[in-house]
């Protein structure tokens, strides 16, 4: 008996210690402002979704406290005590219609509290707002057709295994894995997939919408403040699904216009000898079959990301590799290392990716370290 009671005491102590450690962890380990958190909304859609979520949290918390409390109380109150008669026969009551119907009505009322804001937010997120100020002609100074000026900035999001293409049809530019949008403006995203189903998820700006092949999905987003945002594909899309990330830069109007101006330019001609060697290697080593570089007349491939301004991107390999230094700007040294690593070891960094593949399977492209350095040097001029 002694042993049992000691064991019991030890068990209780261990349990309490574990519980307090757990609670401590909860306090210290839970930040809601992490990089990809949906609990830190920075745009009206994410905010509406967050508010709705909080409504459901409060309603269910209320049910949790009342029903859970009732359960605990009942279990405690009607437990069999050690001195109770084993054969005690409780009252064999088997129901009370009034109580049952009352509780049903109460639960329906609680659901109505959730249903009303749900429908409101639903309509809000599904309808492109008629925001005059967001129309392209109202704020973008560059050349636009009349039709484009009257519409909202549109971005065609194309999902590939396992990277993203962002095309700005009104502005005539295409970029990859980094969605750049102006702050405070409504942006319409046309979501298309080239192969399997993907899902566009930028938690701080908006919840996800799927990119389904054969289906024309769209969503609208708006970002309230400039910043660097983190997003990810949220639908299982094959072996490297975990590496299908993307980043979003929200810029002020001026910065955005400058960015667009910059992106519209073709890639500069390779003037330096080492860079020209890299350009040649880029063609010789079959990179051109899949990648487009505007300004390089050989690089016209469409299977891989557009590399026209690859060096202006803050990340590499669909967001896995960060090119930024501590100050948040691109660190050229880091970028060089990343590019080298990626070209040299892409199968290791992102297993299953389609670099060095053609329709027949894995291609063997002999690349010496020196070759890679030259290609990197060439790519780094594309900023």
């Amino acid at each position: 008996m002694m042993l049992v009671s000691t064991l019991k005491r030890c068990f209780v102590r261990a349990f309490l210690a574990g519980l307090s450690f757990f609670l401590l962890l909860c306090v210290s380990g839970c930040s809601f402002k992490t990089k990809q958190s949906s609990l830190d909304p920075k745009g009206p859609i994410a905010l509406a979704q967050y508010d709705l979520f909080m409504v459901t949290v409060w309603v269910t918390l209320f049910i949790f406290v009342t029903v859970g409390g009732a359960l605990l109380w009942v279990v405690w109150r009607f437990r069999q005590r050690p001195d109770d008669d084993d054969d005690h026969m409780p009252n064999q009551s088997h129901g009370n219609p009034l109580v049952e119907v009352g509780l049903i009505v109460a639960s329906i009322l609680l659901l109505v509290i959730i249903a009303v804001p749900t429908l409101r937010v639903l309509v809000y997120t599904f309808e492109l707002p008629e925001d005059e100020g967001s129309k392209l002609g109202q704020w973008y100074q560059g050349p636009l057709t009349e039709e484009d000026a009257e519409t909202i900035l549109t971005v065609n999001v194309m999902g590939y295994q396992w990277w993203w293409a962002f095309e700005y049809p009104q502005l005539g530019i295409t970029t990859a894995n980094e969605l750049v949008i102006p702050e405070g403006k409504v942006v319409k995203l046309n979501l298309r997939s080239a192969d399997v189903i993907h899902s566009f998820w930028l938690p701080k700006i908006a919840g996800k919408v799927d990119l389904i092949p054969g289906r024309a999905n769209w969503m609208w987003i708006k970002a309230d403040e400039p910043g660097h945002y983190y997003g990810q594909c949220a639908e299982f899309c094959g072996s490297a699904h975990a590496y299908m990330l993307f980043r979003s830069d929200v810029l002020s109007h001026r910065d955005f216009e400058a960015w667009v101006e910059y992106q519209k330019k073709d890639a500069p001609e390779a003037l330096e000898v080492s860079v020209a060697a890299g350009e040649r290697l880029f063609a010789e080593k079959t990179c051109i079959q899949c990648h487009t570089i505007r300004g390089n007349q050989y690089a016209m491939g469409i299977k891989g990301p557009d590399l026209t301004h690859v060096a202006s991107r803050k990340s590499l390999a669909a967001g896995i590799m960060d090119n930024r230094g501590v100050d948040g700007r691109i660190d050229r040294l880091k970028q060089r290392e990343n590019l080298f690593e990626w070209i040299k070891n892409s199968q290791h960094i992102k297993p299953g990716n389609l670099m060095y593949h053609d329709d027949a399977g894995l291609k063997t492209v002999p690349l010496s370290d020196d070759d890679v350095h030259k290609i990197v040097a060439y790519l780094q001029t594309l900023n």
Binding site: P213, G214, A216
Partner: protein, 126 residues
């Protein structure tokens, strides 16, 4: 066994009555089917034709399950069981029909070489 034997007599009588019902039904089904085939070539509005086709096939459908499949003679439970499956199926069909719309299609991925396909299948058969 005795109860069974007794009911056998009445059962046989019952069956004789059903015989005429079956013959009549066969005629009705034949007539309804010919009506359907005629209707589709009549110059009426398409909604009218579709509605009458649906009604006619529903009539045929229920005639078969009620008489040929004996539901009208059998216990109501069987009818309810079958109808529950049928209703869930019909409900699902209708809901799915509403959920799909040509407006949602993204046609950019459809790449279809009509000519080659035509020739391929032709050669295959030949």
């Amino acid at each position: 066994m005795n109860a069974h034997a007794l009911s056998l007599e009445s059962l046989i009588k019952e069956e004789a009555k059903r015989y005429h019902a079956f013959i009549n039904l066969a005629f009705i089904l034949a007539i309804l089917t010919s009506t359907e085939i005629v209707i589709i070539f009549l110059p009426f509005a398409s909604w009218l034709i579709v509605t009458s086709l649906v009604v006619l096939s529903l009539v045929k459908f229920f005639c078969v399950i009620l008489w040929f499949m004996h539901l009208i003679y059998d216990r109501i439970l069987l009818f309810l069981l079958f109808m529950s499956g049928l209703l869930i199926a019909v409900g699902t069909v209708i809901a799915l029909m509403f959920l799909f719309s040509p407006n949602d299609l993204d046609r950019s991925l459809f790449s279809f070489n009509t000519l080659s396909m035509f020739f391929n299948s032709f050669c295959f058969v030949a």
